[in-house]
Amino acid sequence: MPMDGTAAAPAYLRITDVTKMFGDFTALKDVSLEVNEGEFVCFLGPSGCGKTTLLRAIAGLDIQTAGKVEQAGADISALPPAERDFGIVFQSYALFPNMTVRRNVAYGLENTKMAKADIEKRVTELLELVGLPDQGDKYPAQLSGGQQQRVALARALAMSPGLLLLDEPLSALDAKVRVHLRAEIKDLQQRIGVTTIMVTHDQEEALTMADRIVVMNQGVIEQVGTPQDIYGRPATAFVADFIGTMNFVPGSVIADGRVSVGGTELTVDTEGRAPGTVVTVAIRPEDVAVHDADMSSENAFEVTVQHMEFLGSFYRAEIGSGAFADHVVQADFSVNLVRRNDLKVGGTTRVSFPPAFIRLFTGDVR
């Protein structure tokens, strides 16, 4: 797996060849990953791909079948959860219903040798940190979902863990609260600098919050990278398709740097693929460029607008052309551009696929 980030500091969390079996079913296959100190990492992938399984292996709640987990330099592969160093928040929050907010937050502290007054001080501090300074005497059932979520966060942070694990912490909330809390959690994480792993199936969540995203699919890691990396340079067709919208058009390599798509030749980095290799050309709708008729540029051709869907700030158009057989490609045109170029269904226009934004995947991956 390609790793970026600083090479100097050793990784805070290192996962090596972790495999998890449930009976005959392999939920994780040889997963390796490194997380740096203070980093915010998101596990992103469709439901059932093994995100929670990996998180629970890191926590020791469901220990992996094989493979190594190291945290802060120590091998913790076989340790029970109570002997590891992490705080965790679940989708359900799992707040103790019969205890007030304060007692929930204090629950872990009360188990240490900390003096009572210090515990109370720390709880007050934590409640302030999550923005609930005066809800301490309420019971969880008396709070809104968003507030319960913050209490769960405060409780998880109470023991100042080295690692904060969040399993879909926002998915039980409604959209507005979710967007708001996203920013808050990220802000909180940056302030206290705790290494954080969050599981989510929501790409927007991952893209906005993570320092690095780990895209998973069917028990393996497809790609690890910054949000920009993952979005702009998806390593596999799965990542390309799962995150954002991507056009896929089949083609084949004809020479170094040249690919044929339905008879039209495109200039694109073929990354050393041999001529004749079957490939899939991928480009995002927003990367399809529109040109004025007289301009010439690379990978440009005449297309017919077959369909246009108004989406507020832009139009998503389906464009087709004799140039690449009968393949229909989606392209995003800003309202401004549509007005200026008088684009409409049935009309023609000149577009180009800038080589820098084209991704090639070997084989027909559609």
Binding site: S92, F96, A141
Partner: protein, 570 residues
């Protein structure tokens, strides 16, 4: 889309052997201990009993000789037919009655529903013997309504069927009500929109919806009647049933081997009924999980008042059974001196154990409720919430289900064989209070266990994970979160155990000693000795105590709901 990328097969890396923390050791230890409790309390005694059925009186292995003898003695094997016949008949009667009664309570606007529901709780407060005693006073040789039987004797099948129906009715009704309560109003709206007639709606919507509940109720009734000992003992006369045969073989003739054979014969249909029922119930899950709109019945005078009439008759019968027992207990000398007195409560002048038996019963029931609730709830917690140890937990769950399939008589006899053996190091508990508590906890283990499991399943599955992440030992979370949150279920379990310990006869009848006679056994023995009125009086003592306990339970539950309403969601 792309499945091709995942070509690499799982590397055969070294298997991780999770290190057990302190919590894991304690949990596993406790679970093994409770598992051993079940092995000692159920499996080993049953095994001993079964092997006894293959031995002669000197303990030599004789293969199936005892069974051959059993099946070539018509007086013995004819009981199988009797037991089956009585059970099937009672099942039909009770199922139909309970269904109509339950329907009236859940699906009509019949007046006085609360009263009708309460009346049906009465039989749960009394030993099954009480129904039999009451029948003696109503229809016996000197019964007040003897003529109604047109010359037939109440001592025999008629009495057994009526008496059995009386005491199993509430058990069946509870299941039927639960089944009828789970319905979807939208189905009825759809039926109405399609202009289906009321009768058609009943047969196409109501009955299929309650199908699994009815099947389950049928199995419960059948098993209860088939294995019951109290009713046929009191009112069966010379009509032999399997459960009374065991008693006669063991207590009457000291023929333990034949007792063991009859036990096996009794055990087989009970286990079969149990197994079939569990298979059927598995299918029900899907039906229940759908979110339904509750049905609110609308008034329909003709239906509501016919239901009222029906329920009044059933309620009257139940009240007459209890009322007659109370009346008989107070009458000075039936039927010659009908003056009321408390003479029959002077238990100390009769054989059977006296007042000591009553107080023993209370002690035994309190111990059973306390120890049983503790063991059962904690066991269910370990099974449900423990981490890892999958094999052990599954095995434990299976062991916890077994007692439900074992009739009390069989369990009691098995205990004689197992604990009375001089080779058994636990032999010392034989004849003590401890063995009575043990057998009662085990006898009523399964229902309590399932109640606990249901309550635990409703708790967030991640409490244990969170508490481990906070380095809190599991027992702290158990005491501070699990127990308070599950308190209603815990109270239910202890109540269930207390009531059953007060009223049970079948298992303990083989195990009491002169120091540990019990009230329910005293009822049996006084009845046996012809002191029927004192037997009725003792049965009524049990009924008062159980009613008091229920009242206390209701108050506690209500108080608990009030003090915890701040954090409980409705």
């Amino acid at each position: 889309m792309s499945g091709a990328a995942t070509a690499a097969a799982a590397a055969p890396g070294a298997r991780i052997k999770p290190r057990m923390g302190r919590d894991d050791w304690i949990m596993r230890g406790a679970m093994v201990a409770i598992g051993l409790f079940l092995v000692l309390g159920v499996l080993l005694p049953l095994y001993t009993m079964m092997s006894k059925s293959l031995e002669d009186s000197d303990g030599a292995f004789v293969g199936l000789a005892n069974y051959v003898e059993y099946f070539s003695t018509p007086a013995l094997f004819y009981s199988i037919y009797n037991s089956l016949w009585i059970s099937v008949l009672s099942t039909v009667i009770v199922l139909v009655t309970a269904f109509i009664y339950g329907y009236a309570l859940t699906r009509t606007c019949m007046p006085f529903k609360g009263f009708f529901r309460m009346v049906t709780l009465v039989p749960l407060l009394t030993p099954s013997l009480l129904g039999g005693i009451s029948l003696v006073y109503w229809f016996g040789n000197q019964g007040v309504a003897k003529e109604l039987l047109l010359g037939e004797s109440i001592y025999g099948p008629i009495g057994i069927v009526i008496g059995s129906s009386y005491w199993v009715f509430p058990h069946a009704l509870m299941i039927v009500i639960t089944a009828l309560a789970v319905t979807d109003a939208r189905l009825y709206e759809a039926a109405e929109a399609l202009r289906a007639s009321k009768v058609r709606t009943f047969f196409t919507v109501t009955l299929p919806g309650a199908k699994y509940g009815l099947i389950s109720a049928a199995f419960v009734i059948f098993t209860l009647v088939f294995t019951d000992f109290g009713v046929p003992k009191v009112i069966g006369g010379s009509y032999n049933m399997l459960a009374t045969d065991i008693y006669k073989q063991v207590i009457g003739q000291q023929n333990f081997q034949m007792g063991a054979v009859v036990s096996v014969v009794l055990l087989i249909p009970a286990v079969l009924a149990f197994a079939v029922d569990r298979l059927v119930q598995r299918k029900q899950v899907a039906l229940l999980s759908a979110r339904a709109v509750p049905l609110v019945p609308t008034p329909e005078p003709v239906r509501d008042w016919s239901m009222f009439a029906f329920c009044s008759v059933v309620a009257a019968i139940i009240i007459c059974m209890l009322g007659m027992a109370q009346y008989a207990a107070l009458v000075t000398f039936w039927p010659y001196n009908l003056e009321l007195s408390l003479n029959n409560y002077n238990f100390d002048v009769m054989d059977g154990g006296g007042w000591e038996a009553y107080f023993n019963s209370i002690r035994m029931s309190l111990y059973t409720a306390a120890a049983g609730t503790l063991i059962i709830f904690f066991g269910a917690y370990l099974m449900e919430k423990g981490r890892g140890f999958q094999g052990g937990r599954t095995a434990f769950h299976m062991a916890a289900i077994v007692p439900l399939a074992v009739p009390g008589m069989v369990l009691g006899l098995s205990y004689i064989f197992f604990f009375n053996s001089p080779h058994n190091p636990l032999n010392g508990i034989y004849g003590t209070m401890l063995i009575l508590v043990l057998v009662t906890v085990v006898h009523f283990y399964t229902v309590s266990h399932l109640t606990a499991v249901t309550a635990l399943k409703q708790m967030d599955a991640e409490f244990e994970s969170v508490s481990a992440s906070l380095k809190a030992p599991f027992y702290r979370t158990f005491l501070r979160v699990t127990v308070p949150v599950c308190m209603p279920a815990i109270l239910d379990i202890s109540m269930y155990l207390f009531l059953n310990a007060m009223t049970t006869v079948s298992a303990v009848v083989f195990l009491y000693s002169s120091d540990t006679t019990l009230a329910s056994v005293a009822v049996l023995n006084m009845d046996d000795a012809g002191d029927i009125a004192p037997a009725a009086a003792m049965a009524m003592m049990i009924a008062y105590t159980c009613a008091g306990a229920r009242l206390l339970h209701a108050l506690l539950t209500r108080g608990l709901a009030r003090t915890t309403q701040a954090w409980r969601r409705r």
